[in-house]
């Protein structure tokens, strides 16, 4: 047992549900007790989703505890099959139901034997006590891809490469941090390079298209957390190469593009291509990639110029702390250190399972590395190091509030404000602009605060302070004052004025609880 107040990564089934509900016409059935379907709330709230989240629970209650699920899961599967007519139903256990050790695979098999069953049915293969949300998402995604490719193989489907050079983008999915914006930016980048986008998965993907995945020439995995397993599977199975450098920040984006160039140049890659694709490679390569990078870096992205500007000079040597998921924390660390000259005093991630990669990425770019899932350790580290700014998750934002240090949010877990309506990618060249803004704004605000403190504020005029609670013509009784103090600070003044106005109208000088509540009843004070 461990005492926990906060967790960075959610439980495993959440990852499965995120993948399943990203796909089109896929329904997930959770084997779970009542109340475990809060994933629907998260998706509907955070993503402001217009459609019903395609997740239902096959409720585990006392009866299930006593007698087992028996027909219940099977019935729920066939019911959803009839109601929603999905292409695929993903059955997933939860932490709780996995202890029941019911043979869910058996239920799935039985559901499949129904003659009228239209959907494919899969049991998510994740251990709820060993993997977290990200690992489970990665695993589930691979499982679904594998399932449909195996199926296509059995049907003797021909995996031909597309005529033009094309790539799949793997790992864009629901509730991902700025994922949809990143996806748009990636599409633009690849189009600029003359590479076609074949499939984007899992977000908005259709299971019928899964078998087309090998038709693309290579895969792009923008985030470490999800997609790598799938990319590896496709590499082993179809010798599809993949690029897994996250194109975040100027340097990383350049490296990402160079990696693609390198790929296109390699002989092995060419062998797999058709004639027209070979010609196309020549034409793509004839465009100088280096020129493209230069132009984008200097004119599309403002970030490189920003690094040279006087603004950024002021940031030199400022101390920052970075914490988040592996991809974002590593990339932001490099951006701060290499692109802006900021001293990263500590960089950390909660992705324990990917610690090796993370350490390799940030070594040399920061003074300390912290790998932990415990938010108190992160909080302690921040208060010990006293950085000028923090780049972290919502938790770090609140640590920052407590310690009066500004914070930019760079990674999940996030609140609704991190699902902005406007275009805010973190990847690609537009992403570099967004990140530069985020970083700069965090720091200036911090400096402004500091200056205000030194010079005791800009204003020479005294700000009119709201009247003291006790200072007024009316006399408040003791319990009425106590009641007033229970009202949240930001409306207290207004309530007080309204009550006093009401009391004057009623010609009452003494304000007691009666008057107070009467005021609320009469004028909603």
């Amino acid at each position: 047992m461990k005492l926990a107040y906060w967790m960075y990564a959610g439980p495993a089934h959440l990852g499965t549900l995120r993948v399943a509900s990203s796909l089109k016409n896929v329904h997930a059935i959770m084997h779970a007790p009542l109340g475990d379907d809060y994933f629907n709330v998260m998706r509907s709230m955070l993503e402001r989703e217009r459609d019903f989240t395609p997740v239902t629970a096959s409720i585990v209650d006392r009866h299930v505890l006593a007698r087992g699920s028996q027909e219940k899961v099977v019935e729920n599967i066939s019911r959803k099959d009839k109601e929603e007519k999905p292409d695929l139903i993903v059955v997933t256990p939860t932490c709780t139901s996995s202890i029941l050790q019911e043979d869910l695979q058996n239920f799935v098999n039985r559901a499949l034997t129904f003659k009228d069953s239209q959907a494919d049915v899969l049991l998510a293969d994740v251990n709820h006590y060993r993997v977290n949300e990200f690992q489970a998402a990665d695993r589930t995604f691979e499982q679904i891809v594998r399932f449909y490719i195996e199926k296509a193989k059995k049907e003797n489907f021909v995996f031909e490469k597309t005529e033009k050079i094309s790539a799949n983008i793997l790992g864009i999915f629901t509730l991902g941090f700025h994922n949809t914006h990143d996806c748009r930016e990636l599409k633009r980048l690849l189009t600029d390079l003359g590479i076609e986008i074949h499939e984007i998965l899992p977000e908005g993907g259709n299971v019928a298209n899964f078998k087309n995945l090998p038709k693309a020439h290579f895969n792009i995995v923008p985030y470490r957390e999800i997609g790598l397993m799938t990319a590896n599977y496709l590499k082993n199975e179809f010798q599809m190469p993949y690029v897994s450098i996250p194109p975040m920040g100027i340097l990383n984006t350049a490296q990402f593009i160079k990696e693609i160039e390198f790929l296109l140049k390699s002989e092995v890659f060419k062998e797999n291509c058709g004639e027209s694709a070979k010609k196309q490679i020549e034409s793509i390569l004839s465009k100088n990639f280096q020129n493209y990078i230069d132009e984008q870096t200097r004119f599309v992205s403002q970030a490189a110029w920003f690094s040279r500007s006087i603004d950024c000079q002021n940031l030199t040597g400022k101390r920052a702390v970075v914490f988040g998921d592996a991809t974002h924390a590593a990339c932001i660390t490099k951006i701060l250190a290499c692109e802006m000259g900021i001293q990263v005093v500590c960089s950390g991630t909660y992705c324990k399972h990917d610690a090796d990669w993370f350490i390799e990425q940030v070594t040399g770019f920061c003074d300390e590395i912290l790998i932990t899932e415990d938010h108190t350790q992160v909080g302690d580290m921040i208060s010990r190091l006293e950085p000028a700014a923090i780049f972290g998750t919502q938790m770090e934002r609140h640590v920052g509030k407590r310690l009066d240090i500004p914070c930019g949010v760079i990674s999940a877990p996030v609140h609704i404000q991190n699902f902005p309506l406007g275009y805010r990618p973190f990847l690609g060249y537009e992403g570099t602009n967004q990140i530069a803004d985020l970083i700069y704004n965090s720091f200036t605000l911090g400096m402004e605060d500091h200056l205000l403190e030194i010079f005791n504020g800009h204003d020479t005029k005294e700000i009119k302070k709201p009247q003291n609670l006790l200072d007024s013509s009316n006399s408040w009784s003791k319990d009425a004052l106590e009641e007033l103090s229970r009202i949240p600070g930001f409306v207290r003044g207004k309530v007080k004025r309204n009550v006093e106005k009401f009391a004057r109208q009623q010609k009452k000088t003494n304000i007691n609880l009666d008057v107070m509540f009467a005021a609320k009843e009469a004028v909603n004070a």
Binding site: M1, R50, L65, T96
Partner: protein, 493 residues
């Protein structure tokens, strides 16, 4: 009208599949730790529970809440670790860090499945640690959302002092000493039924009759205490105190109290009355285990409910209500402006927090038409007075009886909503945005749980919540006109 709205002779109850969305009952820690200021809530469960609380509690989580997860790991599940030792370690840590007056263990689905003997371990650990440990099994296997509070209060009722005084208490109660009653099971409670006449009250509850006290005359020394149960904000508690004082009735205590050390005295000489419709377990415990006399009344939600509630308490104390009619009329008058917005409009409760019957009753009185009342669980004995008032309200207002659906099925409900096209759907957050996108106005039901909705004074707040989406619609009418299309739905077909 559609076949869903057949005129019925009387209220009917249906039961569906129970495939509905609601909060897990462990969410009760969020309001209970704030209400009971010296408490600490330890939820013994998995990552799933923790993640739920983290997301459901929103910003509260960052304010150093007095709650924590005891997160079970694989070694706990496989019994490699000793539960008792693990809990002891954590509880000592909590004592060290926070030093609360009580630690409440919230048992979850996982502890149920593992058959972790929390009730057995608590008294032992309590002795070692020197802090009372209350065990509540607020799990999703058995309960929904607000019922979590019910399980906590039922457990806490066992910890209330008996306050054995010189005259009124008989020996039968003395066997119910504090720590003892905690670990025993309800079946042993049969022994505490004594044969005194007032105990017929207890039986009357179990025999599904509404409780009616003969208006007795109490002499001043022998006035039974009144204890109200249900967690409500302190402000609302003060308002109730004043309302009842006007009738010459003193509230002698609250379950829960603001501090654990102030738990009210409960014994045979105590009248108890509920303020919330989801407290049936607590009511049963108070009657059976603490021999309190239960006052079955409608719940003080809305001016009509509040009046009926006060009247019932008055009748039990043999008092004639003073100025209650005028008070109710005045409140209704002050609400008229809001009521105009909803009069004649229809509403559909999908059901998730057990406040539905009382809210529906109030809204019908406001002139709304209720199509369906979904409700997770319906205790018809505990809610008897409320149901009777609902029935009466329907007849008074001359509207058809709503369909009451226990353990609803959200999928079927949504198809009914599609057909009925109600003016307002009161629902959970999982369905709110998708319904709005389909041009169906919604109100998030959880807000009713977290807002002040009790008593005369707060009736306006209920209406503010109910009318807000309608007022919003009015304000953004321009936007709809801008579309100038018949179909203002925001979902592509």
């Amino acid at each position: 009208m559609t076949n869903f709205l057949k005129e019925k002779e009387k209220l009917t109850f249906e039961c569906e599949t129970g495939n509905y969305h609601t909060f897990c009952p462990i969410s009760c820690v969020s309001w209970l730790y704030q209400k009971i200021e010296d408490s600490f809530f330890l939820v013994i469960g998995t990552k799933t529970c923790g993640y739920f609380l983290q997301n459901a509690l929103g910003v509260m989580i960052f304010a150093e809440p007095r709650y924590a997860m005891a997160e079970l790991e694989e070694s706990d599940i496989s019994a490699k670790l000793n539960d008792y030792k693990e809990l002891k370690r954590l509880c000592f840590q909590i004592k060290e860090d926070r030093n609360p007056s009580v630690i409440v263990w919230i048992g979850t689905c996982t502890t149920e499945i593992l058959k972790m003997d929390l009730e057995g371990m608590a008294p032992q650990l309590e002795k070692e640690i020197g802090i009372p440990i209350v065990v509540a099994r607020a799990n999703g296997l058995d309960y929904a959302f607000t019922q979590g509070e019910d399980t906590v209060l039922a457990a806490m009722a066992q910890r209330c002092p008996t306050g054995i005084s010189e005259t009124s208490i008989e020996t039968s109660i003395e066997t119910e000493s504090n720590s003892e009653c905690f670990s025993t099971f309800p079946k042993s409670s049969t022994k505490i039924f004594s044969k005194s006449s007032s105990n017929s009250v207890l039986e009357s509850f179990s025999e599904n009759k509404t409780l009616n006290f003969p208006p007795e005359e109490f002499n001043s020394s022998n006035v039974p205490n009144l204890v109200l149960f249900g967690s409500i904000p302190n402000t609302v508690a003060t308002q109730f105190k004043m309302e009842l004082n006007k009738q010459g009735i003193e509230i002698s205590g609250w379950l829960p109290s603001t501090r654990y050390s102030d738990l009210p005295v409960l014994n045979k000489n105590t009248f108890v009355c509920a303020v919330n419709p989801f407290l049936s377990r607590t009511a049963t415990t108070l009657m059976r285990r603490r021999q309190c006399k239960f006052i079955s009344a409608p719940f003080p939600i809305g001016p009509d409910g509040t009046k009926a509630w006060i009247e019932k308490i008055c009748s039990v104390y043999g008092k004639k209500p003073v100025g209650l009619e005028e008070r109710e009329t005045k409140i209704w008058e002050s609400l008229e402006e809001s009521i105009q917005l909803i009069r004649g409009k229809s509403v559909f409760f999908m059901g998730d927090n057990l406040l539905e019957i009382s809210l529906a009753r109030f809204l019908i009185r406001c002139g709304m038409i209720v199509y369906e009342i979904g409700i997770p669980y319906m205790d018809r004995r505990f809610q008897a007075a409320e149901i009777a008032l609902l029935e009466k309200t329907c007849l008074d207002m001359n509207v058809p009886f709503p369909r009451i659906v226990e353990k609803p099925d959200n999928y079927y409900q949504i198809s009914r909503i599609r057909e009925l096209q109600p003016d307002l759907v009161i629902t959970g957050m999982a369905h709110a945005n998708p319904l709005e996108a389909r041009n169906i106005t919604t109100k998030w039901s959880v807000e009713f749980t977290f807002s002040q909705i009790h008593g005369f004074t707060n009736a306006r707040d209920i209406l503010d919540l109910v009318t807000r989406p309608l007022r919003r619609n009015k304000n953004i009418n321009l936007l709809s006109e801008f579309h100038e299309s018949k179909n203002t739905s925001f979902v592509k077909k």
